[in-house]
Symmetry: C2
Subunit: 455 residues, 2 copies
């Protein structure tokens, strides 16, 4: 029998040269982004003042199956890609499972996650358009770091609105971004109208991703034509760029003559999940294979498992176009005890549609069980995982133990989307026993659903 | 012309299966470790109560050229090795240099550095000997993290004495070690006699590596036969394990049909430097090739450039055997403004001998210029480097610029021994302008030399 190595790297000449656009293979398209006033689908002209123009084109393009990765982006990718496809031999042994566990590890770059895959693409197109400045938000900090790195490389200025709670938990993330030349502001802040309004209404708030998005958009719009806003998840063009993760994983598995029975990923806004899954989803959409897809989200922010499939704003300030997605309401602010990322109230419209159509399953897991899984993984696979990614690890371990009970040698693939090196406050609260689980009540969610726009 | 990829990984089946012991090829051996009382060479029986027995054998073995890497250690190596050999195309372009710059990147594991290469070997042999407990010290934190990871994997208990100044600068390092189950104590502490004595004499001290070593040895000796002390640098057996770095680098360069004209590494205790250089030093010792070797140390702790080649203690408490090495005196405590690692007063006896015999050159660089180089590297090569490794980067950039002036297309190889993710306090002081350079005066060093033992 062929010996599978612990780690498989695609050779440079086999790196994917094109991103994959899963919409081109979906027989039923996600509902379009619509204008909050008219409820008409947004046009290129309407969104181009917010986002980089080429990204707007990609956002609206639901027919082009493969899109060339520009040469400069490829050259940057090659400084940290391919990421390894790893076989979790030690974890398998520790769990005494017949399952074969593979993970695609995206944490081996300074952003600490997969986020850099879209950041460098976005900065590149911004530069091509002649822009000088981008603004964005960051929650856990990976996206802000990634875009800081990309903007430094491309010579663009960047302002990052960082969720205040995250900044308190991860002060060093700010310094990393500043080392790459970005300006970093705790959100909500007094630098925007929407920030001041939120602070007035709720002075003690630790913020949310939705709120930081509102501020970053306002900041970009205020700067005129040299500036645009950049988003690190949720949107179609972000999932497009992140398809590099799944394309590499699939090519590496092909080299090993392997194919996953189950693909697992953590679900925040959907960029990691969509990036990893979409090339495998293609197989399912085209009837070639039928792997199971499991999206894992925190019990404290359960958009896919307890949310409504509904049009909603992408931000707390209700300034974005409306997206059709699973959402727990744009006013929902996750409980402050919730560690790390995965704090977004909604979910990528593409993944929401796939979930709605039964292609993707979803599970919610409480955070103490997530950190328990993280510590076990760290011990045996040596990598200290990000709290976000550890949601996936929790379900991988559960699945592997189920395989043991059933004596089933399933092949499990998951995305280890990042490392936890800047999340030690959260690990600390797990270790010292102060971490608690929080699950919103039905009443909490109903109250939030009541604020959904009437479309 | 053959296209060199950005990153080269050895395939798993080509990983080195043996460590290389450079002493076997040195016509003149380093002077032996001697007893501080009798000045006689230490015997296996004398050092075995301190260190794991197999490591003692390796320490004293100056004839076996290659030593098999045990299977369990190889299996662990494969979770994070091979490390990539990277071509710094973007940095070369930014510097507009004809030089070819390669770096071996050892930071892609959770310890953040090469330290894991020896940690897992030491934990393995401890386990084989039936030990239950190890003690060690850590300065910058990488070694402590590495040994925590290794002990967790092998099922051993670990106590880490962490230099107090480092713990203040890097609080999250402690949490990482605790996540892997280690007990972490700020040094000097009141848990040991030597710690209490140092605190009595100098209550405000932020500690030093030499002081933490004294405490860790005392702690190990107090635990009797189930416990030994482990050291992450300086000693011969550590350099032996770290040869994996240079062996992989050399094999990867051979695949590319390349060979370095200059090999550069940062110098603390010598584990990174010796590990990277020794397989290339072999070529020089055997007259096969004659690359230039440059060890780079901080101006604030200049053992190789301004120290004495003399017998000295390895620790502040004067409890270790005496080592013949370049030293600025075991009582020397680096200025508190000095960021990161490379705070050890001495240097590996092997490297000291090679330096003494003119095989290795040495340079000292001030820290602001080091962080300037680090920020430039981060921008173009995307990796945020450890302050320690950035000393090497400073000299690499200087050499590359010299190549530009001279229109010389030299091939430069350096070890990027680690990442700076836990060093953001130091980066912050660089960014906010509060970082200063400190260079000890000749009088400072003379005062320290006066305390050298009389051998």
């Amino acid at each position: 029998m062929k010996r599978i190595p612990y780690k498989t790297y695609l050779p440079e000449e086999k790196l994917p040269q094109m991103w994959y656009n899963v919409r081109a293979d979906m027989s039923e398209q996600p509902d379009p982004m619509i204008h909050p006033g008219t409820h008409e689908p947004m046009t290129l002209e309407q969104i181009a003042p917010i986002f980089v123009e080429e990204l707007c084109r990609q956002e609206l393009d639901d027919t082009t199956r493969y899109i060339d990765i520009p040469g400069e982006v490829m050259d940057y990718y090659k400084t940290y890609r391919p990421s390894p496809l790893c076989r979790a031999y030690h974890l398998e042994k520790a769990l005494d499972t017949p399952a074969k566990i593979y993970y695609k590890f995206e944490g081996n770059n300074t952003s600490g996650s997969h986020k850099l895959n879209s950041a460098i693409a976005q900065a590149y197109y911004a530069k091509q358009q002649g822009l000088e400045f981008l603004s964005t938000e960051t929650g856990a900090g990976q996206w802000g770091t990634a875009l800081s790195m990309a903007c430094a490389f491309m010579g663009l200025d960047l302002r990052v609105y960082m969720v205040k709670g995250s900044m308190q938990q991860k002060p060093y993330r700010k310094t990393v971004m500043e080392t790459y030349g970005a300006g970093v502001i705790a959100s909500p802040s007094d630098t925007t109208q929407v920030g001041r309004k939120i602070l007035d209404e709720n002075p003690g708030t630790i913020g949310s991703l939705g709120c930081a998005i509102s501020e970053a958009i306002e900041a970009a719009m205020g700067k005129g034509d040299s500036c645009r806003y950049a988003l690190g998840s949720v949107l179609n063009h972000v999932l497009l760029h992140q398809s590099i993760v799944g394309l590499e994983a699939k090519a590496a598995m092909e080299m090993l003559e392997e194919y996953p029975d189950v693909v697992i990923g953590c679900a925040g806004g959907g960029s990691n999940l969509g990036g990893m899954m979409s090339p495998f989803i293609q197989d399912r959409l085209l009837g070639r294979r039928s792997p199971v897809f499991i999206a894992v989200e925190p019990s404290s922010c359960p958009s896919l498992t307890r949310g409504r499939y509904s049009y909603d704003f992408g931000d707390t300030g209700c300034t974005t176009p409306l997206l059709k997605m699973y959402t727990i309401g744009s006013c929902y602010i996750p409980h402050p005890n919730h560690a790390g990322g995965l704090r977004f109230h909604g979910m990528s419209p593409i993944l929401s549609k796939l979930r709605h159509n039964g292609i993707i399953e979803a599970r919610a897991v409480p955070q103490k069980s997530v950190f328990e899984a993280a510590a076990l993984f760290a011990k045996y696979e040596t990598i200290l995982p990000a709290p976000e990614s550890s949601h996936a690890i929790r379900v991988v371990i559960d699945e592997a133990l189920r395989c043991k009970e059933a004596s089933e040698a399933k092949t499990i693939l998951f995305s280890l989307s990042g490392t936890g090196y800047f999340d030690m406050t959260a690990y600390n609260s797990y270790l010292d026993g102060s971490m608690t689980d929080y699950i919103p009540t039905d009443e909490d969610l109903e109250a939030s659903f009541a604020t959904l726009p009437n479309v």
